[in-house]
């Protein structure tokens, strides 16, 4: 039998569910415990933020909200590995990655609170990142296009897109990795496999043994990672970014994690999944294990935990207040960003809207 090609998909894990190291070759960044604490703190603050968001929604102060509960290692791992000059194209729940890059909780609240200004990130590097992308998988192509721009201009930058297990079924995901593979564009496509796409389980979403192997279709480097282990996520990302940056081409990472909450606040997951499965998934969640690890290294303790949670609470309250105090945009705002310059017809409609608005008050 003649073999035309063969492939192996590695599974990467450093920290097991109990926070024990399962490999000896700790990556450089992980040897720096201060840095590991910084990552841990962002994971915790992401969760505090998430809890607050759901509470806001439940009390009618926020529209539909997509929780990131359980994804903290995956998200913070991705965000923290990128350089400022890189570009992130998220979908809609990767707050952990975005907070690292300067998106503010108040932006998230504004967005889910029905105000476009939530997408107008003020801080670099988030300011040059893409906004949330609701049409599933479309953002992958924006990343591929960005990667092409970097390549054309000879810039050493990498475009990263994040996509769900479900989203990796959609055509655009394939288009993006295929574009990248055909010309070695600096693209890192991160599949956050949280086992569910709303109510559709991973099992009937795809017949592939791993989602990482989708990258084989485009000739990209592929790896499957324990997405609840931030060391593994961060390491796989650093390697992928380095490969892309140095012209060696794109990668597909599958981060295996679990959506511990409902799909969004508009969803009720009890309709379609077993409580036992969720209970079981909690035993592997990302924050607990990193804390166990850091505590075993004497880098963290209960007091620090309390203090940090308190700090997060204050931070988030401040963000919530800033959000709640923001007045709605004036009616003109629905016209003024349609074009760089308002065409004549729209000027008339804008005037009409303004006059109706005045009439109404």
């Amino acid at each position: 039998m003649s073999i035309a090609a063969s492939f192996e998909i590695e599974y990467l894990q450093y920290l097991d569910a109990d926070g024990k190291l399962v490999r000896k070759d700790l990556p450089e960044f992980a040897k720096n415990l201060d840095h590991m604490v910084e990552l841990y703190k962002l994971m915790v603050s992401t969760r505090v933020f998430d809890t607050k968001s759901i509470a806001l929604q439940r009390t009618g102060k926020l529209g539909t909200y997509a929780s990131c509960l359980g994804h903290e290692a995956a998200h913070v791992g991705v965000g923290s590995s990128m350089k400022p000059e890189d570009v992130l194209a998220p979908s809609y729940r990767e707050y952990g990655a975005q907070l690292y890059r300067g998106v503010q909780p108040r932006d998230v609240y504004m967005y889910w609170g029905g105000d476009e200004r939530g997408n107008d990130y003020q801080k670099e590097p988030a300011r040059h990142d893409f906004a949330w992308s609701v049409p599933i998988a479309t953002q992958c192509l924006h990343a591929a296009g960005s990667a092409l721009a970097f390549k054309i201009r000879g810039e050493k930058r990498v475009a990263v897109c994040m996509i769900g297990d479900g989203g990796s079924s959609k055509a655009d995901f394939y288009g993006a990795i295929n574009f990248a593979g055909a010309r070695d564009l600096p693209l890192v496509a991160v599949i956050v496999n949280n086992q569910w796409a709303i109510s559709v389980p991973r099992r009937i979403q795809s017949g592939a043994k791993t989602l990482a192997q989708k990258g084989i279709a485009a000739g990209l480097f592929c790896i499957q990672v324990d997405g609840n282990d931030i060391i593994a996520v961060r390491k796989a990302m650093e390697d992928a970014l380095e490969r892309a940056r140095s012209g060696k081409g794109g990668s597909v990472l599958e981060l295996v994690t679990y959506r511990l909450g409902d799909h969004t606040t508009a969803d009720d997951a009890r309709r379609y999944r077993e409580a036992d499965e969720v209970k079981d998934a909690w035993t592997r969640e990302p924050i607990k294990r990193l804390r166990a690890y850091l505590e075993s290294k004497k880098a963290w303790d209960e007091k620090k935990e309390e203090a940090w949670k308190h700090e997060c609470d204050e931070w988030m309250d401040n963000e919530v207040n800033s959000y709640l105090e923001t007045k709605a945009q004036p009616i003109e705002a629905i016209f003024d960003y349609t074009f760089a310059e308002l065409p004549a017809d729209l000027q008339k409609q804008r005037a009409l809207a303004l006059s109706l608005e005045k009439g109404a008050h």
Partner: protein
């Protein structure tokens, strides 16, 4: 017989037709165990099994093309786009294949498929969940575009859509999914796909609309009636192929027409109706044809969303302008 909502009428029609025709299958994202994000397919998976109520991978292009394939093999697929804002990747299959399969093959292969999608704004949903984009399909030959506006019409028109030997786009105005209940006998009686419904007779001015705006138009008619104006309200229901005769007859009587729709004004389907009036009824018109529509801007996120939605007051004002005209 319990009174049901519009969305329950959709479920009732699907269940009826699946019971009576084994070739009917439902497919889409989350239509199975979850029963659809709006519960349109609630309970169907348990009754008809996971192969006839088929949870697809997350891929609208795929759903659309698989639907064409199913239909070509003699099934009657009812595909769901989770929201109208996600229907774009379906367009190539709908326009290039579903709508032309019969024509391309001189009738050898046909496409008796339905694409359902919750449609329109007004429920405080996130971006891309509140569009009114029916116009996209109205310039496509070989396609029917249907938009029910009451539980009874949802039931009867959906049955007709499934039974129709040609492809149908079936948009469901999600703003009125649960607005009110009415008794809808589960008798399998379809409604015709080639007529507009005159919801209210009147002689002074004709309001032409479809979907959720039927509500505002009926309210406007009430308000105008209180001022002594007699308003005819027409629910177009099947946009294409258009039953223009019903509209023409009405305008012949009233001489005045206000067209109301949720989609942006420019090149919305209201334009077609106004154009037909300008072509075929110009001597009947006693006043300019008015269009009360969304502005030519993107549906704003929900804080400003309703500012973009035609209001009852705007409809009343437009009707009065036509009455004030010479």
């Amino acid at each position: 017989m319990a009174a049901i909502t519009l969305i329950e009428a959709v479920t009732q029609a699907l269940a009826y037709e699946m019971t009576h025709d084994p070739s009917v299958v439902v497919l889409g994202e989350d239509v199975g165990v979850n029963g659809g994000v709006f519960r349109a397919t609630a309970g169907l998976s348990a009754r008809f099994g996971e192969w006839r109520v088929y949870d697809t991978p997350l891929d609208e292009m795929g759903i659309a093309g698989v639907t064409v394939g199913l239909a070509a093999q003699g099934m009657k697929p009812v595909a769901e786009a989770q929201f109208e804002g996600f229907i774009y990747p379906m367009m190539e299959q709908i326009v290039c294949h579903a709508a032309r399969m019969r024509n391309r093959t001189r009738g050898r292969i046909t496409c008796p498929a339905v694409w359902r999608a919750p449609w329109g704004g007004g429920i405080h949903a996130p971006e891309h969940h509140s569009e009114a984009n029916e116009h996209l399909f109205t310039n496509v030959p070989g396609l029917r575009v249907v938009l029910p506006s009451s539980p009874a019409r949802a039931y009867g028109l959906l049955l007709a859509a499934i039974r129709d030997p040609d492809p149908v786009i079936f948009f469901e105005p999600k703003r009125i999914y649960r607005q009110y209940k009415e008794e809808v006998p589960d008798d399998g009686e379809a409604l015709p796909l080639d007529v507009c419904f005159v919801l209210r007779d009147g002689s002074d001015v004709t309001l032409v609309t479809w979907g959720a705006q039927v509500k505002e138009c009926l309210e406007a008619a009430d308000a105008l009636a209180a001022e002594g104006v007699s308003v005819e309200v027409i629910d177009v229901a099947t946009l294409t192929p258009l039953d223009f005769d019903t509209i023409a007859e009405s305008v012949h009587k009233t001489g005045r027409c206000v067209i109301v729709h949720e989609a942006p004004k420019t090149a919305g389907f209201g334009a077609e109706i106004a154009a037909r009036l300008a072509e075929e009824c110009i001597y009947d018109l006693l006043a300019p044809v008015e269009r009360v529509t969304a502005y030519d801007v993107h549906t704003p996120l929900y804080r400003l969303e309703m500012k973009q939605m035609p209001s009852t007051a705007q409809i009343v004002a437009a009707a009065k302008r036509t009455l004030a005209a010479s």
